[in-house]
């Protein structure tokens, strides 16, 4: 796989929910490719399937039909535990609601992915601290989530997403629960992470956030309505 090889490749992804007799098609055939070190914004109205697509890309969910390759591995056919291993190794997920363990310290929250891949304690602590430093929270590592501001919590979540050096960083409305100042703080953090070589996919409603990205994918009713590559924007 080359420098801009296809990190992510989906072919005709469908996701259908059975609601009693009714069928809800959250995705209706999404085919897309995303390369290494791309910075992609996914947009679209509420209910258009953005979160559903992110969950599939993040291996949190499996498609009803279609194929999904991550790093040339066919993820769409994997079972629960194989997916867990992929999530652990390849994916860093940042949620709108942070999803931190409320009773654990920032440090322990960041350690969590390393615990599940059997990293030895010393190395684990070192990596977790390094990740917290990367988001400029080294001085808060022994605080619990309820002792941190919203922006700080989201940064802890980002540190957790980064700690295992994943292939992709996924963020589903990461600024949705933050005020605009804190939101742009988080976005400039994403910019920096992108410059360091990370592949980033962000779901967002906010236009000025999209400006950070180099490609915007618009979803409508579970289909890709527009796909705007904006690589030329970058100097």
């Amino acid at each position: 796989m080359g420098e801009n090889g296809n990190l992510i490749r989906t072919i005709d992804l469908w996701k259908t929910y059975e609601m009693g007799a009714e069928q809800v098609h959250a995705l209706r055939g999404v085919t897309l490719e995303i390369g290494t070190n791309e910075y992609v914004a996914i947009m679209g109205p509420s209910g258009s399937g953005k979160s559903t697509l992110m969950n599939l890309i993040g291996c949190l969910d499996t498609p009803t039909s279609g194929e999904y390759y991550l790093n040339e591995k066919r993820v769409s056919e994997m079972d629960d535990d194989e997916l867990a291993a992929i999530r652990n190794k390849e994916v860093g997920f940042v949620f709108q609601t942070f999803n931190l363990l409320p009773r654990a310290t920032a440090l322990h929250n960041v350690e969590l992915p390393l615990i599940y891949n059997g990293t030895p304690l010393q190395e684990r602590l070192a990596k977790a601290k390094a990740a917290l430093e990367q988001v400029e929270l080294a001085d808060r590592m022994h605080h619990r989530p309820n002792e941190l501001s919203g922006g700080q919590r989201q940064r802890v979540a980002i540190a957790r997403a980064l700690v295992n050096n994943p292939s992709i960083l996924l963020a589903d409305e990461p600024t949705g629960n933050l005020d605009s100042a804190t939101g742009s703080e988080i976005m400039s953090l994403f910019d920096r992470l992108h410059q360091q070589g990370n592949t980033i996919i962000v779901v967002t409603h906010e236009r000025d956030i999209v400006a950070h990205a180099h490609r915007a994918i618009h979803l409508l009713d579970g289909r890709i309505a527009r796909d705007e590559p904006r690589i030329e924007d970058r100097g």
């Binding site: 629960d80 999803n99 009773r103 615990i115 599940y116």
Partner: protein, 406 residues
């Protein structure tokens, strides 16, 4: 996730809600307390029996009209069937049993014993041959034991238990004093060493007098107990068989008739005791088993609640890469630790119960060292057995749905 971290999580949720934890663990606590208390008591009784009741000596047995009888039916049969044992029966054993070293005879009754205006009521009076005292491990504290000479000449002398001595002669030397046993005067020649009590029953409330004297006073119609010492422990069974054959011949029993007498040996007492404690144990296990099962079900319930309450946590863990076995292990460890916490409290309570019982009642009890590990093993089993269902439920949660939970 290491065992240690799961333990920390479990202990923290225990601490966070003390009352609920206590109620949750009540069944386990009661079960473990009960089982260990029962084990302690049986263990204590075992030591006690070994030490005191069965101190006949390993090569001594006693032939009695009624041996050890354990049921009403047995008793009814024995009353109909068994014959009085006579002095001649003892002589026959003495003459013909080749594996028997010594044969002693004792007859029992109860009398008040008086000195001046002091009375000790209901003293066990034993008419004995001189060799009974050494055979049954009576030791001399003051004066001397009864002698062959006393028995041969039917002298009016008595060897008394420590209780009788203390009560009648609190301040004076009892030796040489004359006491009344019933209506007959006896001279005290010796006092026995204290033998202590069994189940609150003193074993020092006796007066031994010569068999011949006893028979002069009370007649010779009473059934006697025959105490036999085998030549060695190895020939104990043979000696018992010989005595049995000799008595059966004297009593003209047919080959298929049951013995019309009983033989008691320390082995026999021990066997009986074992049988009894096994029965107690089975009942106790049954009762305790029920409370442990109830305790286990409560634990399962609380773990199910915990899984629901922590659905989101499970979702987070899965999202960052926890596999099903990781989650399963976490919740199993948690339920095992929950149970073991109950077990630990139970062990502490049982220790107190066992200590209190041995202080406050004549019931002896001894807390066995293997009880705590045993209790923890039981708790681990319960924790795994009743924790597996909630843990599997947690492990199989869908990550997306779990994350969406409130």
């Amino acid at each position: 996730m290491s065992i240690w971290e799961a333990a920390k999580v479990a202990l923290e949720s225990l601490r966070a809600n003390k009352l609920r934890s206590f109620l949750t663990l009540l069944g386990i606590i009661i079960g473990i307390t009960a089982i260990i208390a029962v084990i302690s008591i049986i263990n204590g009784l075992n030591l006690y029996i070994a030490e005191k009741v069965a101190n006949l000596g390993s090569n001594v047995f006693v032939v009695q009209k009624f041996g050890i009888i354990t049921s009403h039916d047995q008793w009814m049969d024995a009353v109909k069937r068994n014959k009085d044992l006579k002095l001649e029966d003892a002589r026959a054993i003495q003459d013909r049993c080749r594996n028997c070293e010594a044969v002693g005879v004792e007859v029992h009754t109860y009398e008040d014993v008086k000195y001046g205006n002091q009375t000790v009521e209901e003293v066990g009076i034993g008419g004995i041959t001189a060799n009974i005292l050494p055979l049954e491990n009576y030791e001399v504290d003051l004066g001397r034991a009864l002698s062959e000479f006393d028995v041969d000449h039917a002298r009016y002398v008595a060897f008394m238990g420590a209780d009788v001595g203390e009560n009648l002669f609190p301040h004076t030397d009892p030796l040489g004093k004359q006491v009344r046993i019933g209506r007959t005067k006896f001279t005290i020649v010796g006092l026995g060493k204290k033998r202590g009590s069994v189940f609150g029953q003193s074993r020092d409330n006796y007066a031994k007098i010569p068999l011949s004297t006893f028979q002069k006073i009370y007649g010779s119609r009473r059934s006697v107990n025959i105490t036999v010492k085998a030549r060695s422990q190895q020939v104990m069974d043979e000696a018992e068989d010989e005595a049995r054959v000799i008595l059966r011949a004297r009593h003209h029993l047919r080959y298929n008739a049951e013995d019309d007498f009983g033989i008691v040996s320390s082995q026999g007492i021990n066997d009986l005791w074992k049988d009894l404690t096994e029965k107690i144990f089975v009942v106790a296990i049954f009762v305790v088993g029920i409370s442990l099962v109830v305790g286990g079900i409560v634990i399962m319930n609380i773990m199910l609640v915990s899984v629901i309450e922590r659905t989101r946590e499970i979702g987070i863990r899965k999202a960052v890469g926890a596999r099903q076995p990781d989650i399963l292990r976490q919740f199993l460890i948690e339920s095992v630790i929950l149970c073991c916490a109950g077990g630990a409290i139970g062990i502490a309570l049982a220790f107190l119960v066992s200590y209190g019982l041995s202080k406050a009642t004549p019931l002896p009890s001894s807390f066995p060292l293997w009880a705590p590990p045993f209790a923890f093993a039981v708790c681990t089993l319960i924790g795994v057995f009743f924790g597996i269902h909630p843990a599997r439920k947690a492990a199989h949660l869908d990550p997306i749905e779990a994350l969406r939970a409130e």
